[in-house]
């Protein structure tokens, strides 16, 4: 080996300048990329912690994301609440109807002069009987006039917004299970509603909370009689409370809170209905069900037009929305009106305290996010209210099939 080394001729060459530059360039390129990736991941974590989202999409979306959409929506709403001169109302509303395809023959008020502005015309009612309910009692009805953008089953916890664009169900509805109705953290008494016989009948068979089923006898006292504390009484039997809590804790690590119990022969379905500007903008209950809680996500107000739905992934999870969570005869049921720039606010008839597209709620959301940050926790991104009802068995606000629930208002 020594001989071989001694006899080997060593000749030194200079490295060509180009190769050196390329080497140094590639090293630098790699380092910059690694640094940017780390910063991006750190930023995403920070954004998630603060409840913010970064948008990806074409230049139109990037420009749109820089606009103060909520402020524009409020301004647009104020503008539409200005009283229109009496003699301009009919031609104005007819022009609007012509452009957006409003069927004036079914509008409740035949005299269009009665609508003082576009906002009131937009939130018009229809003549009685103009929207007959499907006679099949097992049908899930359309909640609104509009176009069915997408429907199907929930696969691996994802909803398809439009073909090829999916988003997580947890991102839409919220990442943690709502507080069981038997242990309300913040109860709000809705306007009294008559109990629905269909719902009561279903409840007598079983009751489900957050995908966890428990038999109705658990809601009864030991002697088989219904425990009927007064509506204002918050003292719930501790055994039931702890039972539901323990069940929820056991269920959480293995499956998302909205997932049906593995033992049931049910699955999750979804449907997305888009309302165009000319459509009737009040929404109705698709089935007989009980709303147990409401979550208000004070997000942005992008347009939800089919074009933007195709262009901006996860659009529904970015926009301001009100998630209503509850149950129906087959288990979990959720109903989510999603706001848009040109609409502005979402109204619920049975929840007068809900304020959407409001500076106050935005400020409250910012404050909640800041408090969560101070505590070192992730901000859930929504405020939640539990609905109480006169009947402890229902544990929420009962809605009849086809009943008007609220609507989208201008501004």
């Amino acid at each position: 080996l020594r001989t071989a080394l001694n006899r080997t001729r060593i000749q030194w060459y200079t490295i060509p300048v180009g190769v050196g530059i390329a080497f140094l360039g590639s090293v630098q390129f790699y380092r910059v990329n690694a640094r940017e990736k780390a910063l991006r991941e750190e930023g995403e974590v920070e954004d998630a912690r603060r409840g913010r989202h970064r948008l990806s999409g074409p230049w139109q979306v990037q420009i749109m994301s820089t606009l103060p959409l909520k402020a524009l929506s409020r301004l647009w709403g104020r503008f539409n609440e200005l009283t229109i001169p009496y003699y301009l109302r009919v031609p104005g509303f007819k022009l609007y109807s012509y452009i957006f395809g409003v069927n004036l023959s079914e509008v409740a008020e035949a005299d269009l002069h009665t609508y003082p502005n576009l906002a009131s015309f937009f939130y018009r009612t229809l003549k009685p009987g103009s929207r007959p309910l499907d006679p099949n009692p097992n049908a899930v009805l359309s909640p609104a006039d509009g176009r069915v953008i997408q429907f199907g089953t929930i696969e691996a916890g994802e909803i398809e917004q439009v073909k090829g664009v999916t988003y997580s169900l947890s991102a839409l509805l919220g990442s943690r299970a709502p507080t069981p109705p038997s242990t309300p953290t913040h109860s709000r008494s809705p306007s009294p509603e008559p109990a629905n016989p269909d719902v009561v009948a279903a409840d007598e068979e079983f009751a489900r909370v957050n995908g966890i089923s428990y038999s109705l006898p658990n809601l009864l006292t030991g002697d088989g009689k219904k425990a009927s504390p007064p509506a204002s009484d918050q003292s719930i039997p501790s055994s039931l409370t702890s039972e539901v809590e323990v069940s929820a804790d056991l269920a959480r690590p293995t499956s998302p809170w909205w997932a049906p119990a593995a033992s049931t022969k049910t699955t999750l379905y979804y449907a997305v209905v888009y309302l165009a500007p000319g459509d009737y903008h009040r929404f109705h209950s698709p089935v007989a069900w009980v709303v147990q809680s409401r979550r208000h996500f004070a997000g942005e107000l992008f347009s939800v037009s089919p074009w933007l739905q195709r262009t901006l992934p996860g659009l529904f999870t970015l926009n301001e929305r009100v998630v209503l969570l509850g149950r129906w005869r087959w288990g979990f049921f959720s109903y989510t009106p999603v706001g848009a720039t040109n609409v502005g606010s979402i109204v619920l008839n049975f929840d007068r305290e809900l304020r959407t597209n409001s500076l106050l709620t935005d400020t409250a959301a910012d404050k909640a996010a800041a408090e969560a940050r101070e505590r070192g926790e992730a901000y859930a991104g929504f405020s939640e209210a539990q609905y109480a009802s006169a009947s402890e068995v229902l544990g929420g606000n009962a809605l009849r099939r086809g009943e008007e629930m609220g609507g989208f208002r201008l501004g």
């Binding site: 097992n138 009805l141 069915v148 429907f151 309302l275 129906w328 288990g331 049921f333 009106p337």
Partner: protein
């Protein structure tokens, strides 16, 4: 505006009664159990 419904229903007994892109009105059946 948009409304998103997510609900639990039987795996075998559910049937959609609408098509993608179809116009619907309040009270019309989207599907049935």
């Amino acid at each position: 505006s948009t409304i998103v419904l997510v609900f639990e229903a039987p795996k075998d007994g559910w049937k959609w009664e609408v098509k993608r892109g179809e116009r619907v009105k309040v009270g019309q059946a989207l599907g049935e159990v």
